[in-house]
């Protein structure tokens, strides 16, 4: 295999992996703070993809511009979901939480099926078929932009958690829920904000992915599974781990496709998951509890 093709494949894997990483970041943030595993994560991203595709079809709004209204709507949706529904399940057994979120996922998939049917939808913008050529290496323009947006969003989120009062309060909740309540923090509100922020990650990732892949209602569970693989590899609750996990999965799939067989792409990422679970169960960047 010529070197430039391997580098090209790895670069494509890194770029796609960063977008996947942003999606998984939402899952990781929600779990890290609220301690709830969002089993409807991929389904929510599918909604974001449909929103971007609809805005493009109706107003010819570029998915990168659609990020702003979709992310805002998703923050409100995430906040409302946590405040109105999931907060009631915080103290309930884990299987109740699991059933609740699986049910939400199923409702989302079927609602999308009823609204849009099972056919694929996508967008077609001018630069979608364009590439940058760096010597012999060809880099897909849309993929590069999507990865850039994913990195910017992740940095903004990290900045928010590190430098704002709300972010610090959320981290306090994550570190010690009981102490956070003792010092007078409104924990349930902070949980809702956190879920809203996780939904924003999903919205940005979903809008970006519409430039790379078509969307159907049935892809939601696949993305949920992918997000789980990424956060387990990177470390559940770790923001850096989600991004690195995404890149690892993207690169491993690219290399599997190039060197073994394209059909072996998923096999290798699940193989990686098993290795991490055996060698480092808390994930590459996760903390042992």
């Amino acid at each position: 295999m010529p070197f430039e093709f391997v580098v090209g494949g790895v670069v494509a894997g890194i770029l796609t992996g960063l977008v996947y990483g942003l999606m998984a970041l939402g899952l990781s943030v929600i779990f890290g703070v609220v301690r709830i595993v969002n089993f409807a994560h991929g389904e929510l991203m599918t909604v974001a993809m449909y929103a971007a595709a609809l805005l493009f079809a109706r107003f010819e709004l570029d998915p990168f511009l659609a990020v702003l209204p979709v992310a805002a709507a998703f923050f409100v949706l995430g906040y409302a979901l946590q405040a109105g529904l999931i907060n009631r399940f915080i103290t309930r057994p884990e299987h109740s939480q699991f059933m609740l979120l699986v049910a939400i996922g199923l409702i989302v998939v079927n609602a999308l099926l009823m609204a849009f049917g099972p056919d694929a939808r996508g967008v077609q913008v001018d630069y979608q078929l364009e590439s940058f050529e760096l010597g012999d290496i060809v880099v897909d323009k849309a993929r590069l932009y999507a990865a850039g947006l994913a990195v910017l969003t992740a940095l903004a989120l990290i900045g928010l958690f590190r430098f704002t009062r709300t972010g610090k309060a959320i981290r306090a909740c994550a570190d010690n829920h009981f102490a956070a309540r003792v010092v007078g923090l409104n924990v349930k509100r902070l949980y809702a904000i956190t879920f809203g922020l996780g939904a924003v990650c999903v919205a940005v990732a979903g809008c970006s992915l519409t430039l790379l892949f078509d969307v159907t209602p049935s892809v939601g569970p696949q993305y949920t599974l992918l997000a789980f693989v990424i956060v387990i590899v990177g470390g559940l609750g770790s923001m850096l781990g989600a991004l690195v996990g995404g890149v690892l999965i993207g690169v491993s799939e690219a290399l599997a496709g190039l060197y073994i067989s394209p059909s072996a792409k998923s096999m290798l990422s699940f193989g990686l998951l098993i290795v991490v679970l055996i060698v480092r169960p808390q994930g590459l960047f996760g903390r042992r509890r």
Partner: protein, 413 residues
């Protein structure tokens, strides 16, 4: 003793059985003497194969009207969408039969066809396959399964012969090909056929340097195209479906891979309307060697008029293959019904076996089933996309334009 007790258990059971039998008999007779044939049309109208399924459905939708005029036979279509899912195909077929379908037509997919064939055989209801190429479907000894379409082996044989004619007509001499195919029942059957047939076609002068299988539902084929490009093959030999063919073509542009051409030895995708709609000018020069319709046939002209009435914004040329074979499958059912004069499934199957239709829409000899339920001698054409229209370029007798190969913009990798 028994008579003194009035009705015994045994006499009651006998009377009950006789009563049931006599009450069901009129129903059975009514079914046998029906004046209308209920045709269960089962297609993938949604999901990954949805667009092709919808294209086939156009052929089914116009059939009752055209066939009523041609044969005077009343048809009632019972449409079912199996959502491009084999398990759903099985349950939809069961449901159609349960709801009274006398014959099944469909399903444009080998995996689904294999599943539906089992149901049809178990329930004793004839299945007439419109499009599905996996050879094993008509190799099982089924008595109720019929296919008016080429098997993968025939498609490959005809497709490779047409590739030879293409190279000869364009004086092109590619020496290497990278072979990409969908990894489903159809793709595997085609691969088996290609790998078995190619060694005996040494006159073609090219060898396959890499074989790349991919998921038919894949959302991203960038790695696959990277790998294909890395082979530096002269041309891409492709067995695709529709959605993946569009993805592949887009990815080739993104990765700036310009081989001599994309040639399908016989698969859907590149001649279909959505391929042109999605890709515009990028759809041009792709080549599909496929069973095709005969634009000059009388039946084609009749069907074309009906098609234009029902689909004023569509052109038959984009749907010719799907419409042609789906229409012919229903025509076979109607013709058998007319001769059998009954909807009794066994009589219908016997009548189908005796089919001999010469006035047909697709290329090749008459529709006549062999002992396995397979029509032989169906013809193929080399169809190249020119000026965003699927155009017959070979065989020369049926061609309306000259083939273009290598395609413009060809650049050695």
């Amino acid at each position: 003793m028994a008579s003194s007790q009035g009705i015994t258990r045994r006499s009651f059971q006998t009377a009950l059985a006789a009563g049931l039998a006599s009450s069901l008999l009129p129903l059975r007779r009514a079914r046998a003497q029906a004046h209308k044939l209920k045709v269960g049309v089962i297609l993938p109208r949604s999901g990954t194969q949805g667009l092709t399924g919808q294209s086939c459905q156009k052929g089914a939708d116009l059939a009752p009207g055209v066939i009523k005029e041609l044969l005077g036979v009343e048809l009632e279509l019972m449409n079912a969408d199996f959502e491009s899912n084999v398990d759903t195909a099985r349950t939809r077929a069961e449901r159609l039969i349960q709801d009274g379908a006398h014959v099944l037509v469909g399903p444009f997919d080998s995996g689904a066809a294999a599943a539906i064939a089992q149901v049809a055989e178990q329930r004793g209801v004839p299945l007439i396959i419109n499009i599905a190429a996996a050879p094993q479907i008509t190799e099982q000894g089924y008595k109720f399964v019929f296919r008016n379409f080429q098997t993968a082996g025939e498609i490959v044989k005809n497709g490779l012969d047409l590739i030879g004619e293409l190279f000869s007509a364009t004086h092109a001499a590619p020496t290497t090909a990278v072979y990409m195919h969908v990894n489903d029942t159809f793709g595997q059957a085609m691969t088996k056929g290609i790998l078995a047939t190619l060694p005996s076609r040494s006159q073609l002068g090219f060898k396959i340097v890499d074989e790349i299988a991919y998921d038919p539902a894949a959302k991203d084929l960038s790695v696959e195209i990277s790998r294909a490009k890395a082979t530096k093959a002269d041309f891409l030999l492709l067995v695709s479906r529709l959605n993946d063919a569009i993805l592949l073509r887009r990815e080739m542009v993104k990765q700036r891979w310009n081989p001599m051409g994309i040639v399908s030895p016989g698969s859907p995708g590149m001649y279909e309307e959505q391929y042109f709609k999605s890709l515009g000018k990028l759809s041009d020069y792709s080549i599909s060697n496929v069973p095709w319709f005969n634009p000059n046939a009388n039946l084609t002209k009749i069907v074309e008029k009906a098609f234009a009435r029902q689909n004023p914004n569509d052109k038959l040329v984009f749907h010719g293959l799907n419409v042609g074979f789906t229409f012919e499958a229903i025509l076979v059912a109607a013709d058998a019904f007319k001769r059998a004069k009954t909807t009794d499934p066994k009589a219908l199957a016997d009548a189908i076996r005796q089919t001999h239709i010469t006035d047909k829409m697709t290329l090749g000899g008459p529709i006549k089933f062999n002992a396995k339920g397979q029509v032989e001698g169906i013809g193929s054409a080399c169809v190249q996309n020119l000026n965003q229209l699927p155009t017959v370029v070979l065989p020369a007798a049926a061609a309306t334009a000259r083939p273009v190969f290598p395609q413009p913009g060809y650049k050695k990798t």
